[in-house]
Symmetry: C2
Subunit: 387 residues, 2 copies
Amino acid sequence: MPSFARTLTEIPPSPLTTVEQLLRSHGHDSPVALHQGKTVFPPCAAPRTWERAEFGIAAHEHAPPAGVPALRRRLADAATARRGTAVDVEQVLVTGGATHALSVILHAILRPGDDVLLLSPQWLFAAGLVRTAGGVPREVPVFLELSGDPDFDAVAVVEDAIGPRTRAVYFNSPNNPTGHRLSEDVIAGLAGLAERHDLWLIADNAYENYDFSSDGFVDPATVGRAAAYTFSLHSCSKTYAMPGARVGHLISPPGCAEVLTKWSLHSLYAVSTAAQFAAFEALRTPPEELAARRALAADAWRLTDEALEIPHTRADGGLYTFLDLRALGDGGEFVRRCAEEGVGLAPGQVFGEHCGGWARICYTAAPPPAVLDAVHRINKITTGGQR
Amino acid sequence: MPSFARTLTEIPPSPLTTVEQLLRSHGHDSPVALHQGKTVFPPCAAPRTWERAEFGIAAHEHAPPAGVPALRRRLADAATARRGTAVDVEQVLVTGGATHALSVILHAILRPGDDVLLLSPQWLFAAGLVRTAGGVPREVPVFLELSGDPDFDAVAVVEDAIGPRTRAVYFNSPNNPTGHRLSEDVIAGLAGLAERHDLWLIADNAYENYDFSSDGFVDPATVGRAAAYTFSLHSCSKTYAMPGARVGHLISPPGCAEVLTKWSLHSLYAVSTAAQFAAFEALRTPPEELAARRALAADAWRLTDEALEIPHTRADGGLYTFLDLRALGDGGEFVRRCAEEGVGLAPGQVFGEHCGGWARICYTAAPPPAVLDAVHRINKITTGGQR
């Protein structure tokens, strides 16, 4: 057999496989998998057949590479309403989830060896996506710092990290795994950097429906002149509880459509038509329903926050908190002991090289009583560890 | 706005856009779009909801990166039956269509500047996929030569084209656009080259259900020792008339799963669960139904072959014939005149740099009477052009 050229040895097969193996091997009676980002919320739309007239395209017909026009129209209208300025259909690219959207962007903007600054800790596939697009991921720790000290000057730290080959700054807010929400001031600062240093901003808005702050979610593209250099990633996975649909979309500055559509076409051709119809239906979800889900998530956060005896980050939004295990010795050992007690934790280092002393839990991964029960098991281990 | 790094100016936005614009601009009463590879066959499966027990996973849950186990099992069983030797589940990767499968393979095997030999004319996105993976596509004309002369030594021509940076040979048989089916001898010759020169073979089996020969489709991986260096691409698009599902799969030699799954994960995460369920259902299609579709395609071919007055390639399979326009002067002008008469032809050059004097038609793109009517219009233009 010939060899592969790029075996991706620098990327683990799947960052959470170890935890799953641990959970299985201990075979606890009532395991609670808090390590994954799954939520217990029912999906906003389910697959079904439809009449051609309803969507303009039958399920077996392949969609145009940029997406089904009816869906793009609805997404552009939603973006226009959210941003308060007109977003044209041409700016919307339907993608096979946010993963695919990020892959498309990175292929389009990176030459081999260019780097991307990842505001860290970051979504667990972000670094791998930069590598597979030929780039170099550079983690810039800011979220734990901001979480501990609102006056921490994240923008200055990011500016210091900009090098001659930096092409973009990626951030995810509300943040997975810390739950920290970047303030409008920080976003404005990043937008200023982008303008001064000719960088792209990549705003991963996967958790846009889960901002618990009184102001609510601020689309980063609406801050200052950010819209001119921001790629906005949106996903059905969290917003509509439909990760299996694999539908996301990308909103770009005007003039990007041709290049991005070519990259998308040459990786996937088009997104599954049935999945696009499911997204089309999900977009009909009443705002009250989305608000109710946000309230449920906020309730789950408060329960978890009150019950957790171990230090952890404050969730302004998102579906996670990051547990601070640094006082307990080896973070990996703590994750193993939790698995022994049937509780899955996502080890910190998959979210950033500097996060070995941390672990993530998803507080909506099970119904509240199960999450509470898991937290009590975590607490017991904590106490044991401190004995 | 910052700039893009790789704008893909060498790749057209969509190779058939021009024809579609021409067809629209002439507004013929009864246009017949023979330029696309769509067929009139109904899909073998439609989207629907299902119980979790039926497939092991609910539609809103994301599938494992390599595919839903129940679907992979069924695909491995089908491959085992087709090949007559055991294909393990581990060798099967479910992909977002054959486009995505090819993108995954090319990313995994190419370093920037490596080349891939494309047996030409070739599927219209093959060259672009090589470029977007950082490689150099090198077209090796063989199909028109083999179509005209069965003794043409294609293997020697391919061997001559192998250079120091050649990593793979890609072929599509039955071939889109010529309809030529590579003989077992040619495939054995290619397998020998792969072995001697340490190359991968990439067998695009999109038209496996449309081999009209008495022997029927021969899976290239079953020829000689080809299985050890062959990536086999399969798609639901043509086999089950479901291009909108965007589901394909890749069967690789043992030992490739980890690397290929990483590449797939970092481009798409996973394939839409509902689309995978549709593929699972399509695999239940009775063999007689698939044979009936093959017979319908063969009938459409014979009708078209008899009616066409212009020279064209003989279809051993597939859904196309390639029209030889070289005696009529400018091929592009002929495509324009056909569009004026409401008949869409795919211009030859999108299938290979050397094919400017040719054009492709899909003889299953409309019901037989409509295809015949279109062929009569083509004939009229041919006669006019020869006056």
